[in-house]
Amino acid sequence: MAMVVFQGVSKIYNSHSAALEDLDFEVQPGEFVSLTGRSGAGKSTVIKLLIGEEKPTKGRVFFSQYEVNKLKDGELPAFRRHVGVIFQDFRLLPMKTAYENVAFALEVAGRPQRDIVELVPQVLDMVGLSEKSGNFPHELSGGERQRVAIARAMIHRPEIIIADEPTGNLDPLNTYEIIKLLEKINQLGTTLLLATHDKEVINTLEKRVITLDRGRIIRDEEKGKYILV
Protein backbone atom coordinates (compact mmCIF):
# COMPACT_ATOMS: atom_id res chain seq x y z
CA MET A 1 0.00 0.00 0.00
CA ALA A 2 1.26 3.43 -0.90
CA MET A 3 2.05 5.77 1.96
CA VAL A 4 1.01 8.98 0.21
CA VAL A 5 -1.56 9.21 -2.57
CA PHE A 6 -2.66 12.36 -4.42
CA GLN A 7 -5.73 11.63 -6.54
CA GLY A 8 -6.76 14.28 -9.09
CA VAL A 9 -5.91 17.06 -6.66
CA SER A 10 -6.55 20.69 -7.59
CA LYS A 11 -6.12 23.67 -5.36
CA ILE A 12 -7.40 27.08 -6.33
CA TYR A 13 -6.62 29.98 -3.97
CA ASN A 14 -8.34 32.56 -6.14
CA SER A 15 -10.27 32.53 -9.36
CA HIS A 16 -7.37 33.82 -11.49
CA SER A 17 -4.90 31.00 -11.15
CA ALA A 18 -4.73 27.45 -9.87
CA ALA A 19 -1.93 26.55 -7.44
CA LEU A 20 -2.28 22.86 -8.31
CA GLU A 21 -4.09 21.28 -11.24
CA ASP A 22 -5.16 17.69 -11.37
CA LEU A 23 -2.19 16.26 -9.50
CA ASP A 24 -1.72 12.46 -9.39
CA PHE A 25 1.18 10.74 -7.67
CA GLU A 26 2.02 8.11 -5.05
CA VAL A 27 4.86 7.70 -2.59
CA GLN A 28 5.74 4.21 -1.39
CA PRO A 29 6.90 3.45 2.17
CA GLY A 30 10.63 3.92 2.58
CA GLU A 31 11.01 6.11 -0.50
CA PHE A 32 13.00 9.36 -0.60
CA VAL A 33 11.15 11.65 -2.98
CA SER A 34 12.25 15.15 -3.95
CA LEU A 35 9.67 17.62 -5.09
CA THR A 36 11.15 20.36 -7.20
CA GLY A 37 10.22 23.25 -9.43
CA ARG A 38 10.68 26.98 -9.38
CA SER A 39 9.05 29.25 -6.78
CA GLY A 40 5.30 29.24 -7.13
CA ALA A 41 5.25 25.89 -8.93
CA GLY A 42 3.14 24.44 -6.10
CA LYS A 43 5.66 22.60 -3.90
CA SER A 44 4.53 24.24 -0.69
CA THR A 45 0.89 23.74 -1.58
CA VAL A 46 1.47 19.99 -1.93
CA ILE A 47 2.96 19.95 1.55
CA LYS A 48 0.20 22.08 3.05
CA LEU A 49 -2.39 19.70 1.62
CA LEU A 50 -0.50 16.71 2.94
CA ILE A 51 -0.36 17.99 6.53
CA GLY A 52 -3.94 19.23 6.41
CA GLU A 53 -3.08 22.91 6.66
CA GLU A 54 -5.10 23.51 3.49
CA LYS A 55 -7.98 21.61 1.93
CA PRO A 56 -7.94 20.67 -1.77
CA THR A 57 -10.49 22.35 -3.99
CA LYS A 58 -10.91 19.07 -5.83
CA GLY A 59 -9.56 15.54 -5.45
CA ARG A 60 -8.42 13.41 -2.52
CA VAL A 61 -5.25 13.25 -0.43
CA PHE A 62 -4.40 10.06 1.42
CA PHE A 63 -1.72 9.50 3.99
CA SER A 64 -1.40 5.97 5.36
CA GLN A 65 -4.85 5.12 6.74
CA TYR A 66 -6.01 8.78 6.76
CA GLU A 67 -7.93 10.62 4.08
CA VAL A 68 -6.40 13.98 4.91
CA ASN A 69 -8.89 16.17 3.05
CA LYS A 70 -11.71 14.78 5.21
CA LEU A 71 -10.06 15.29 8.61
CA LYS A 72 -11.88 17.65 10.94
CA ASP A 73 -10.08 20.37 12.95
CA GLY A 74 -10.28 18.27 16.07
CA GLU A 75 -8.66 15.27 14.36
CA LEU A 76 -5.70 17.18 12.93
CA PRO A 77 -3.52 17.25 16.07
CA ALA A 78 -3.60 13.46 16.42
CA PHE A 79 -2.97 13.04 12.68
CA ARG A 80 0.02 15.37 12.77
CA ARG A 81 1.70 13.22 15.38
CA HIS A 82 2.14 10.62 12.60
CA VAL A 83 4.10 12.99 10.40
CA GLY A 84 7.22 15.00 11.03
CA VAL A 85 7.51 18.37 9.33
CA ILE A 86 10.61 20.48 8.77
CA PHE A 87 10.40 24.04 7.44
CA GLN A 88 12.74 26.48 5.77
CA ASP A 89 12.31 28.92 8.68
CA PHE A 90 12.82 26.16 11.29
CA ARG A 91 9.69 27.11 13.27
CA LEU A 92 11.14 26.39 16.66
CA LEU A 93 9.48 27.71 19.80
CA PRO A 94 11.68 30.68 20.73
CA MET A 95 10.94 30.48 24.45
CA LYS A 96 12.02 26.85 24.71
CA THR A 97 15.50 25.35 24.74
CA ALA A 98 16.62 22.86 22.10
CA TYR A 99 15.83 20.04 24.52
CA GLU A 100 12.37 21.44 25.32
CA ASN A 101 11.55 22.00 21.65
CA VAL A 102 12.23 18.35 20.90
CA ALA A 103 10.49 17.16 24.06
CA PHE A 104 7.43 19.27 23.16
CA ALA A 105 6.51 16.92 20.29
CA LEU A 106 6.31 14.07 22.79
CA GLU A 107 4.61 16.11 25.47
CA VAL A 108 1.71 17.14 23.23
CA ALA A 109 1.25 13.48 22.34
CA GLY A 110 0.87 12.72 26.05
CA ARG A 111 3.94 10.51 26.25
CA PRO A 112 5.14 9.75 29.79
CA GLN A 113 8.04 11.66 31.28
CA ARG A 114 10.35 8.64 31.39
CA ASP A 115 10.07 8.25 27.58
CA ILE A 116 10.95 11.89 27.16
CA VAL A 117 13.97 11.69 29.44
CA GLU A 118 15.16 8.65 27.54
CA LEU A 119 14.43 9.59 23.92
CA VAL A 120 15.24 13.29 23.68
CA PRO A 121 18.96 12.96 24.51
CA GLN A 122 19.23 10.05 22.06
CA VAL A 123 17.78 12.03 19.19
CA LEU A 124 19.74 15.16 20.04
CA ASP A 125 22.84 13.01 20.02
CA MET A 126 21.91 11.63 16.60
CA VAL A 127 21.67 15.13 15.12
CA GLY A 128 24.91 16.07 16.88
CA LEU A 129 23.50 18.60 19.35
CA SER A 130 24.02 16.91 22.72
CA GLU A 131 26.25 19.77 23.79
CA LYS A 132 23.69 22.45 23.00
CA SER A 133 20.53 20.91 24.40
CA GLY A 134 20.17 23.72 26.94
CA ASN A 135 20.50 26.53 24.38
CA PHE A 136 17.61 28.62 23.15
CA PRO A 137 17.04 28.87 19.37
CA HIS A 138 18.46 32.40 19.21
CA GLU A 139 21.70 31.05 20.63
CA LEU A 140 22.06 28.50 17.82
CA SER A 141 23.28 28.85 14.22
CA GLY A 142 20.93 28.24 11.29
CA GLY A 143 22.28 24.75 10.72
CA GLU A 144 21.94 23.92 14.40
CA ARG A 145 18.40 25.21 14.50
CA GLN A 146 17.47 23.06 11.54
CA ARG A 147 18.97 20.04 13.28
CA VAL A 148 16.83 20.75 16.33
CA ALA A 149 13.83 20.91 13.99
CA ILE A 150 14.82 17.57 12.46
CA ALA A 151 15.23 16.05 15.92
CA ARG A 152 11.76 17.32 16.80
CA ALA A 153 10.31 15.96 13.55
CA MET A 154 11.70 12.48 14.12
CA ILE A 155 11.40 12.08 17.90
CA HIS A 156 7.98 10.44 17.78
CA ARG A 157 9.09 8.05 15.02
CA PRO A 158 6.73 9.31 12.34
CA GLU A 159 6.01 7.21 9.27
CA ILE A 160 7.01 10.12 7.05
CA ILE A 161 9.13 13.23 7.35
CA ILE A 162 8.12 16.13 5.16
CA ALA A 163 10.76 18.78 4.59
CA ASP A 164 9.77 22.08 2.96
CA GLU A 165 12.93 23.78 1.63
CA PRO A 166 14.89 22.76 4.74
CA THR A 167 18.16 24.11 3.34
CA GLY A 168 16.74 27.33 1.91
CA ASN A 169 18.33 29.46 4.63
CA LEU A 170 21.59 27.53 4.98
CA ASP A 171 25.10 27.79 3.53
CA PRO A 172 26.43 24.94 1.35
CA LEU A 173 28.25 23.15 4.17
CA ASN A 174 25.23 23.16 6.45
CA THR A 175 23.05 22.18 3.49
CA TYR A 176 25.25 19.17 2.88
CA GLU A 177 25.07 18.13 6.54
CA ILE A 178 21.31 18.49 6.71
CA ILE A 179 20.82 16.44 3.54
CA LYS A 180 23.18 13.74 4.85
CA LEU A 181 21.10 13.66 8.04
CA LEU A 182 17.87 13.29 6.07
CA GLU A 183 19.41 10.47 4.04
CA LYS A 184 20.45 8.75 7.24
CA ILE A 185 16.92 9.02 8.63
CA ASN A 186 15.57 7.59 5.36
CA GLN A 187 18.02 4.69 5.51
CA LEU A 188 16.69 3.88 8.98
CA GLY A 189 13.29 3.30 7.34
CA THR A 190 11.40 6.63 7.46
CA THR A 191 9.77 7.80 4.23
CA LEU A 192 11.00 11.23 3.17
CA LEU A 193 9.36 13.90 1.06
CA LEU A 194 11.69 16.79 0.36
CA ALA A 195 10.58 19.97 -1.38
CA THR A 196 13.55 21.92 -2.69
CA HIS A 197 14.69 24.00 -5.62
CA ASP A 198 18.36 23.47 -4.78
CA LYS A 199 20.00 21.93 -7.86
CA GLU A 200 23.04 20.64 -5.91
CA VAL A 201 20.85 18.88 -3.39
CA ILE A 202 18.81 17.09 -6.06
CA ASN A 203 21.80 16.07 -8.11
CA THR A 204 23.79 14.66 -5.18
CA LEU A 205 20.81 12.67 -3.86
CA GLU A 206 20.23 10.62 -7.02
CA LYS A 207 16.75 9.68 -5.78
CA ARG A 208 13.26 9.98 -7.25
CA VAL A 209 12.43 13.52 -8.40
CA ILE A 210 8.97 14.93 -9.14
CA THR A 211 9.17 18.22 -11.03
CA LEU A 212 6.28 20.67 -10.82
CA ASP A 213 5.58 23.59 -13.09
CA ARG A 214 2.63 25.93 -12.68
CA GLY A 215 0.77 23.42 -10.58
CA ARG A 216 1.27 20.40 -12.84
CA ILE A 217 3.67 17.46 -12.73
CA ILE A 218 5.91 17.76 -15.77
CA ARG A 219 8.42 15.05 -14.86
CA ASP A 220 8.55 12.11 -12.42
CA GLU A 221 11.78 10.13 -12.65
CA GLU A 222 13.65 7.56 -10.57
CA LYS A 223 17.21 8.80 -9.97
CA GLY A 224 16.21 12.15 -11.37
CA LYS A 225 18.31 15.21 -12.05
CA TYR A 226 17.46 18.85 -11.61
CA ILE A 227 16.48 20.09 -15.03
CA LEU A 228 15.62 23.74 -15.59
CA VAL A 229 12.29 24.23 -17.16
Binding site: G74, P77, A78, R80, R91, M95, A105, G110
Partner: protein, 302 residues
Protein backbone atom coordinates in the same frame (compact mmCIF):
# COMPACT_ATOMS: atom_id res chain seq x y z
CA UNK B 1 -5.25 13.55 31.91
CA UNK B 2 -3.13 14.32 34.96
CA UNK B 3 0.01 14.41 32.83
CA UNK B 4 -1.62 16.85 30.42
CA UNK B 5 -2.85 19.11 33.24
CA UNK B 6 0.46 19.13 35.02
CA UNK B 7 2.30 19.85 31.76
CA UNK B 8 -0.07 22.68 30.91
CA UNK B 9 0.41 24.21 34.35
CA UNK B 10 4.15 23.72 34.13
CA UNK B 11 4.29 25.36 30.68
CA UNK B 12 2.13 28.21 31.92
CA UNK B 13 4.51 29.00 34.77
CA UNK B 14 7.58 28.59 32.60
CA UNK B 15 6.19 30.79 29.82
CA UNK B 16 5.15 33.43 32.33
CA UNK B 17 8.70 33.52 33.69
CA UNK B 18 10.41 33.42 30.31
CA UNK B 19 8.20 36.04 28.70
CA UNK B 20 9.77 38.39 31.24
CA UNK B 21 8.92 41.97 30.41
CA UNK B 22 5.80 40.96 28.49
CA UNK B 23 4.41 39.29 31.61
CA UNK B 24 5.54 42.25 33.70
CA UNK B 25 3.75 44.67 31.36
CA UNK B 26 0.57 42.60 31.50
CA UNK B 27 0.68 42.47 35.29
CA UNK B 28 1.37 46.22 35.44
CA UNK B 29 -1.67 46.99 33.29
CA UNK B 30 -3.75 44.60 35.38
CA UNK B 31 -2.58 46.31 38.57
CA UNK B 32 -3.77 49.64 37.16
CA UNK B 33 -7.11 48.11 36.23
CA UNK B 34 -7.48 46.53 39.67
CA UNK B 35 -6.55 49.82 41.37
CA UNK B 36 -9.36 51.43 39.39
CA UNK B 37 -11.59 48.58 40.49
CA UNK B 38 -10.75 48.90 44.20
CA UNK B 39 -10.97 52.68 43.78
CA UNK B 40 -14.52 52.25 42.49
CA UNK B 41 -15.47 50.08 45.46
CA UNK B 42 -14.06 52.68 47.86
CA UNK B 43 -15.74 55.46 45.89
CA UNK B 44 -19.02 53.57 46.26
CA UNK B 45 -18.56 53.44 50.03
CA UNK B 46 -17.70 57.15 50.21
CA UNK B 47 -20.64 58.13 48.00
CA UNK B 48 -22.97 55.93 50.00
CA UNK B 49 -21.77 57.44 53.22
CA UNK B 50 -22.02 60.96 51.85
CA UNK B 51 -25.52 60.32 50.55
CA UNK B 52 -26.75 58.81 53.78
CA UNK B 53 -25.21 61.58 55.85
CA UNK B 54 -27.09 64.09 53.74
CA UNK B 55 -30.20 61.95 53.97
CA UNK B 56 -29.83 61.87 57.74
CA UNK B 57 -29.95 65.63 57.89
CA UNK B 58 -33.32 65.74 56.15
CA UNK B 59 -36.38 65.53 58.35
CA UNK B 60 -39.70 67.24 58.79
CA UNK B 61 -40.99 68.65 62.01
CA UNK B 62 -44.60 68.85 63.00
CA UNK B 63 -45.50 71.56 65.52
CA UNK B 64 -48.62 70.99 67.58
CA UNK B 65 -50.91 73.68 68.85
CA UNK B 66 -50.24 74.47 72.49
CA UNK B 67 -53.74 73.32 73.27
CA UNK B 68 -52.97 69.77 72.20
CA UNK B 69 -52.44 67.32 75.03
CA UNK B 70 -49.38 65.12 75.25
CA UNK B 71 -51.53 62.00 74.78
CA UNK B 72 -52.87 63.32 71.53
CA UNK B 73 -49.35 64.06 70.30
CA UNK B 74 -48.24 60.56 71.29
CA UNK B 75 -51.22 59.13 69.42
CA UNK B 76 -50.14 60.94 66.30
CA UNK B 77 -46.61 59.69 66.88
CA UNK B 78 -47.93 56.14 67.18
CA UNK B 79 -49.91 56.40 63.97
CA UNK B 80 -46.90 57.84 62.13
CA UNK B 81 -44.69 55.02 63.31
CA UNK B 82 -47.12 52.58 61.77
CA UNK B 83 -46.54 54.07 58.32
CA UNK B 84 -44.16 52.04 56.20
CA UNK B 85 -42.49 55.19 54.85
CA UNK B 86 -41.48 56.41 58.29
CA UNK B 87 -38.08 55.44 59.63
CA UNK B 88 -38.20 57.16 62.98
CA UNK B 89 -40.21 59.68 64.94
CA UNK B 90 -38.76 61.72 67.75
CA UNK B 91 -41.04 63.42 70.24
CA UNK B 92 -39.95 66.73 71.67
CA UNK B 93 -42.28 68.00 74.37
CA UNK B 94 -42.73 71.70 74.88
CA UNK B 95 -40.62 71.49 78.07
CA UNK B 96 -37.80 69.84 76.18
CA UNK B 97 -38.15 72.42 73.43
CA UNK B 98 -37.79 75.14 76.02
CA UNK B 99 -34.66 73.69 77.56
CA UNK B 100 -33.14 73.19 74.13
CA UNK B 101 -33.95 76.78 73.31
CA UNK B 102 -32.46 77.99 76.57
CA UNK B 103 -29.36 75.97 76.05
CA UNK B 104 -28.95 77.33 72.53
CA UNK B 105 -29.28 80.93 73.64
CA UNK B 106 -27.64 80.83 77.04
CA UNK B 107 -24.97 83.29 75.94
CA UNK B 108 -27.52 85.79 74.71
CA UNK B 109 -28.61 87.72 77.79
CA UNK B 110 -31.56 89.48 76.15
CA UNK B 111 -33.23 86.28 75.04
CA UNK B 112 -32.54 84.40 78.27
CA UNK B 113 -34.00 87.24 80.25
CA UNK B 114 -37.03 87.48 77.98
CA UNK B 115 -37.71 83.78 78.37
CA UNK B 116 -37.42 83.91 82.12
CA UNK B 117 -39.89 86.77 82.28
CA UNK B 118 -42.57 84.73 80.59
CA UNK B 119 -45.05 82.96 82.80
CA UNK B 120 -45.91 80.13 80.52
CA UNK B 121 -43.97 78.11 78.00
CA UNK B 122 -44.64 79.56 74.53
CA UNK B 123 -42.97 76.73 72.65
CA UNK B 124 -44.95 74.02 70.97
CA UNK B 125 -44.44 70.27 71.26
CA UNK B 126 -43.16 68.77 68.06
CA UNK B 127 -42.39 65.51 66.28
CA UNK B 128 -39.25 65.10 64.17
CA UNK B 129 -39.94 62.60 61.43
CA UNK B 130 -37.41 60.83 59.27
CA UNK B 131 -38.51 58.93 56.20
CA UNK B 132 -36.99 55.72 54.85
CA UNK B 133 -36.37 57.39 51.47
CA UNK B 134 -36.03 61.13 50.90
CA UNK B 135 -38.76 61.16 48.26
CA UNK B 136 -41.32 59.92 50.78
CA UNK B 137 -41.54 63.21 52.70
CA UNK B 138 -44.29 64.47 50.42
CA UNK B 139 -46.44 61.43 51.27
CA UNK B 140 -45.86 61.91 54.97
CA UNK B 141 -46.74 65.60 54.69
CA UNK B 142 -49.95 64.61 52.89
CA UNK B 143 -50.82 62.15 55.60
CA UNK B 144 -50.47 64.90 58.23
CA UNK B 145 -52.75 67.09 56.14
CA UNK B 146 -55.73 64.83 56.78
CA UNK B 147 -58.48 66.68 58.74
CA UNK B 148 -58.46 64.32 61.76
CA UNK B 149 -54.77 65.17 62.35
CA UNK B 150 -54.54 68.69 61.05
CA UNK B 151 -56.87 69.93 63.78
CA UNK B 152 -54.02 69.47 66.31
CA UNK B 153 -51.27 70.72 64.09
CA UNK B 154 -50.04 74.25 63.98
CA UNK B 155 -47.47 73.90 61.21
CA UNK B 156 -45.43 71.35 59.27
CA UNK B 157 -41.89 72.30 58.30
CA UNK B 158 -42.12 70.44 55.01
CA UNK B 159 -43.91 73.27 53.25
CA UNK B 160 -41.15 75.70 54.17
CA UNK B 161 -38.31 73.34 53.34
CA UNK B 162 -39.79 71.59 50.35
CA UNK B 163 -37.38 73.14 47.86
CA UNK B 164 -34.33 72.26 49.93
CA UNK B 165 -35.55 68.73 50.59
CA UNK B 166 -36.29 68.18 46.92
CA UNK B 167 -32.87 69.45 45.94
CA UNK B 168 -31.08 67.28 48.48
CA UNK B 169 -33.16 64.32 47.37
CA UNK B 170 -32.10 64.96 43.79
CA UNK B 171 -28.44 65.18 44.85
CA UNK B 172 -28.61 61.91 46.78
CA UNK B 173 -30.27 60.19 43.84
CA UNK B 174 -27.78 61.73 41.42
CA UNK B 175 -24.80 60.58 43.47
CA UNK B 176 -26.17 57.05 43.64
CA UNK B 177 -27.03 56.85 39.95
CA UNK B 178 -23.87 58.66 38.80
CA UNK B 179 -21.80 56.36 40.99
CA UNK B 180 -23.27 53.33 39.31
CA UNK B 181 -22.74 54.68 35.82
CA UNK B 182 -19.18 55.69 36.66
CA UNK B 183 -18.49 52.29 38.18
CA UNK B 184 -19.81 50.41 35.18
CA UNK B 185 -18.05 52.62 32.63
CA UNK B 186 -14.68 52.59 34.39
CA UNK B 187 -14.84 48.87 35.15
CA UNK B 188 -15.59 48.30 31.47
CA UNK B 189 -12.69 50.51 30.39
CA UNK B 190 -10.32 48.76 32.80
CA UNK B 191 -11.52 45.39 31.56
CA UNK B 192 -11.05 46.36 27.92
CA UNK B 193 -7.54 47.68 28.53
CA UNK B 194 -6.53 44.42 30.18
CA UNK B 195 -8.21 42.41 27.45
CA UNK B 196 -6.33 44.29 24.75
CA UNK B 197 -3.01 43.95 26.55
CA UNK B 198 -3.44 40.19 26.77
CA UNK B 199 -4.63 40.10 23.19
CA UNK B 200 -1.48 41.89 22.03
CA UNK B 201 0.69 39.55 24.09
CA UNK B 202 -0.97 36.55 22.47
CA UNK B 203 -0.82 38.23 19.06
CA UNK B 204 2.94 38.53 19.44
CA UNK B 205 3.05 34.78 20.05
CA UNK B 206 0.71 33.78 17.20
CA UNK B 207 3.51 32.13 15.22
CA UNK B 208 4.34 29.97 18.20
CA UNK B 209 0.72 28.89 18.30
CA UNK B 210 1.01 27.90 14.63
CA UNK B 211 4.18 25.93 15.38
CA UNK B 212 2.53 24.11 18.26
CA UNK B 213 -0.34 23.11 16.05
CA UNK B 214 1.95 21.80 13.30
CA UNK B 215 3.80 19.70 15.87
CA UNK B 216 0.48 18.15 16.83
CA UNK B 217 -0.59 20.10 19.90
CA UNK B 218 -4.33 19.91 20.52
CA UNK B 219 -6.26 23.12 21.09
CA UNK B 220 -6.38 22.62 24.84
CA UNK B 221 -2.62 22.17 24.88
CA UNK B 222 -2.18 25.52 23.14
CA UNK B 223 -4.87 27.28 25.14
CA UNK B 224 -4.05 25.80 28.54
CA UNK B 225 -0.69 27.43 29.23
CA UNK B 226 -2.00 30.80 28.04
CA UNK B 227 -4.92 30.56 30.44
CA UNK B 228 -2.52 29.57 33.23
CA UNK B 229 -0.45 32.65 32.39
CA UNK B 230 -3.61 34.77 32.58
CA UNK B 231 -4.45 33.29 35.99
CA UNK B 232 -0.94 33.91 37.31
CA UNK B 233 -1.09 37.51 36.08
CA UNK B 234 -4.47 37.95 37.76
CA UNK B 235 -3.31 36.57 41.12
CA UNK B 236 -0.09 38.60 41.09
CA UNK B 237 -1.93 41.76 40.08
CA UNK B 238 -4.53 41.24 42.83
CA UNK B 239 -1.84 40.84 45.52
CA UNK B 240 0.25 43.76 44.26
CA UNK B 241 -2.70 46.09 43.77
CA UNK B 242 -3.76 45.54 47.41
CA UNK B 243 -0.20 46.24 48.56
CA UNK B 244 -0.15 49.44 46.51
CA UNK B 245 -3.68 50.51 47.49
CA UNK B 246 -3.12 50.19 51.26
CA UNK B 247 -0.68 53.11 51.74
CA UNK B 248 -2.56 55.30 49.26
CA UNK B 249 -5.81 54.83 51.17
CA UNK B 250 -3.98 55.31 54.46
CA UNK B 251 -2.78 58.75 53.33
CA UNK B 252 -5.99 59.85 51.65
CA UNK B 253 -8.30 58.71 54.44
CA UNK B 254 -7.76 61.71 56.81
CA UNK B 255 -8.54 64.16 54.00
CA UNK B 256 -11.81 62.41 53.21
CA UNK B 257 -12.67 62.45 56.87
CA UNK B 258 -12.63 66.25 56.74
CA UNK B 259 -15.23 66.30 53.95
CA UNK B 260 -17.44 63.56 55.27
CA UNK B 261 -17.34 63.38 59.06
CA UNK B 262 -17.59 59.94 60.59
CA UNK B 263 -16.11 58.21 57.56
CA UNK B 264 -12.84 56.34 58.00
CA UNK B 265 -11.95 54.87 54.62
CA UNK B 266 -8.78 53.21 55.85
CA UNK B 267 -10.68 51.49 58.63
CA UNK B 268 -13.20 50.28 56.09
CA UNK B 269 -10.33 49.03 53.90
CA UNK B 270 -8.67 47.31 56.84
CA UNK B 271 -11.86 45.67 58.11
CA UNK B 272 -12.85 44.45 54.66
CA UNK B 273 -9.37 43.46 53.54
CA UNK B 274 -10.33 39.83 52.94
CA UNK B 275 -13.48 40.68 51.04
CA UNK B 276 -11.77 43.32 48.90
CA UNK B 277 -8.89 40.98 48.12
CA UNK B 278 -11.39 38.32 47.09
CA UNK B 279 -13.09 40.81 44.73
CA UNK B 280 -9.71 41.76 43.27
CA UNK B 281 -8.83 38.11 42.84
CA UNK B 282 -12.13 37.31 41.13
CA UNK B 283 -11.86 40.36 38.86
CA UNK B 284 -8.17 39.79 38.08
CA UNK B 285 -8.30 36.05 37.50
CA UNK B 286 -11.64 36.34 35.74
CA UNK B 287 -10.50 38.93 33.25
CA UNK B 288 -7.13 37.21 32.79
CA UNK B 289 -8.72 33.88 32.01
CA UNK B 290 -11.50 35.28 29.87
CA UNK B 291 -9.15 37.52 27.85
CA UNK B 292 -6.76 34.66 27.16
CA UNK B 293 -9.57 32.37 26.09
CA UNK B 294 -11.13 34.93 23.78
CA UNK B 295 -7.81 36.18 22.37
CA UNK B 296 -6.45 32.74 21.51
CA UNK B 297 -9.65 31.60 19.87
CA UNK B 298 -8.94 33.20 16.52
CA UNK B 299 -5.56 31.49 16.24
CA UNK B 300 -7.03 28.07 16.93
CA UNK B 301 -9.30 28.08 13.93
CA UNK B 302 -8.16 26.24 10.78
Amino acid sequence: MFTVLSRITHFGFKNFWRHGWLSAATVAIMILALLVFVGLIIFGVVADHAASSIQDKIDISVYFKTTTSEDQVLNVKQSLENLSEVKSVEYISSDQALSIFKEAHKDDATISQGINELNSNPLEASLNIKAQQPDQYADIANYLDAPNLSQYIDSVSYAKNQVVIDRLTAIVKGVNRGGWVLTIVLALVAGLVVFNTIRLAIYSGREEIGVMRVVGASNSFVRGPLVVEGIISGILAAVLSMIIAAPIIYFVSPYLKVFIPGLDVFQYFYENLGKLFLYQLIFGVGIGTLSSLVAVRRYLKN
